[in-house]
Symmetry: C2
Subunit: 372 residues, 2 copies
Amino acid sequence: GPMAIFGASNFPIAYSVAGGDTASALAAGSTVILKAHNAHPGASEIQARAIRQAVQDSGLPEGVFSMVRGSGNAIGEALVDHPLIKAVTFTGSEQGGMALYRRAQQRPEPIPVFAEMTSVNPTFILPRALAERGAPIGDGFVERMLVNVGQACLKPAILVAVEGTGFAALRHAMSKRVSEAPARTMLTPGIHGAYLKGLCNMESAGASLVAVGATATAEVDGRSALFEVEGERFLAEPLLAQEVFGPSALLVKVRDEEELLQVARSFKGQLSATLHLEQDDLPLTRRLLPPLERRTGRIVVNAFAHPQEVCFATVHGGPFPATTDSRFTSVGMTSIERFLRPVAYQGFPDALLPEPLREGNPLGLPRLVDGQ
Amino acid sequence: GPMAIFGASNFPIAYSVAGGDTASALAAGSTVILKAHNAHPGASEIQARAIRQAVQDSGLPEGVFSMVRGSGNAIGEALVDHPLIKAVTFTGSEQGGMALYRRAQQRPEPIPVFAEMTSVNPTFILPRALAERGAPIGDGFVERMLVNVGQACLKPAILVAVEGTGFAALRHAMSKRVSEAPARTMLTPGIHGAYLKGLCNMESAGASLVAVGATATAEVDGRSALFEVEGERFLAEPLLAQEVFGPSALLVKVRDEEELLQVARSFKGQLSATLHLEQDDLPLTRRLLPPLERRTGRIVVNAFAHPQEVCFATVHGGPFPATTDSRFTSVGMTSIERFLRPVAYQGFPDALLPEPLREGNPLGLPRLVDGQ
């Protein structure tokens, strides 16, 4: 049936009009009604025209793709409420995602809502890795944190490290890199305003400012920032674990291995978590993995980049509140599963079966037969 | 995480304490808290003891399975509300299923609710099949309708046939079989009461009584009943398409092929649909399949029985209101997917990976590598 797809603010191509949600919904045989994000009306229009042209060229029915645009909530609400809509995808704020999710539940017929909403993507530096590579890890972390002016689902926002050898080098590398970063244009004035508010919240929740980037020159420029807090304070103040959408990060200094584990257990659902470790860190890592496996969709070892290669193994999802449905991914080959449901054909004459299921397998597809 | 599983009233084994929901949740590594159905406290207790014994014998943690019991809604509500519960399964009435579903949506953290609620499992007799096999089809339909005193998810409740050759034979065979059927004990006094109310609703919605079975001798005996209605009336009165849980059926007499298609399009989501057809019926069947594929989880050709063999191809689900989530089945090998979510491991040293993912595949499992 028809799917309502909400384009994201931050990736005008990959998560927008012609993005993975649209592609996987169309591939599943669904009709797409796309709500364009107001942050990039021009890019949206160009993509929509290209898709409409492709629909025409390939002889598909004209209504298979359409795009709607406009500010405010009225359009989105009308889409989610419409009885013909069979599923909703959304990428954006927790507030926005939960509003759509709750609204969809008011329908007489419930439908799935796949909202990708919030994640601080915690990074853990294990003691041996900190001792050996504190500075390069801090440097690489901030580099990744600044990508897209910090406006990415997978931005690493929180770094957890045990106080000890290498900690000063880590902190110094991070401070240096943050303070050298130029202020850069953020996506919209609204997102810029929310970022400033997020920075204020950090301070009032008890984190201390370690470094700031160059002064902003334009009104919507995002100035990067690094905060620091002790593990004990972090555990006591849930506000510190909330996402700040923009070029800021929080360094959490924990007392010992036990506090590191406590901090790991304190996180809500995340899209990803990253570990920096050496061979000697394996025993502690084995204790750290179970809480992380329960709380994240992806765990990365000894890397900074989060390339979202679209393959069978890609997982871009995670436990609530990272997403509203952790069993599915919005990126990767299996994202199509959000829009499929099984139909069983029993006792059918071969001529009535859909071609992929016929005895001779006329389309030559790889098939699962008796579970093999 | 822990799953709340609600046992069904009608299958004290397959859908109850040790049923498929419990088995697939345990297989997925989840803890099960089972709410036993009040219809069979004894059978529930025997099964629970056997499971607890098995848990002990196999050295699993003691809390991996527990059972709660009691009438009223308080226990069920407490289970669905509990923040540790990660999913809910339910088999029963639409009212009960939707109450749990709506309640789960009030939680701060949304969780999936798999409720299998209602289905009239329509049967369509195509003209040539009716002309050739009207009587045996009617006979076989009623035989199946009476199984378990009509208290089955897959009970065929509505039969649609075009007026013409074979219709009188079909109607006669059904009447004869229904009137010969003895009244048999229903599951609970409550279900019996709801059945009687359902029969009254049929009549007041405009269906006429064609035949009734033998008089009931005990208070909770279900007396079988056959109703009939013209296609036009059926299309005008949605109440006639509602499930009556018990040994009754409705014969819908349609004017022509077009009205047969209209009736097919009028149905809400169903667990199954059945077609009786001959070679000459293929052209009409091809027109009938698309609306049925959209509305059902399973389509059966030229059969009466609905064996629920537990295999990879089993689908026991269907579009709302048959279930709250048509992408999943509650019976079959894939029912485990309701309780699984993906976790991606990126850049891991082999020693840290779970055994099934290690380089040498030490457990020797069949695996999907690069989509192959």
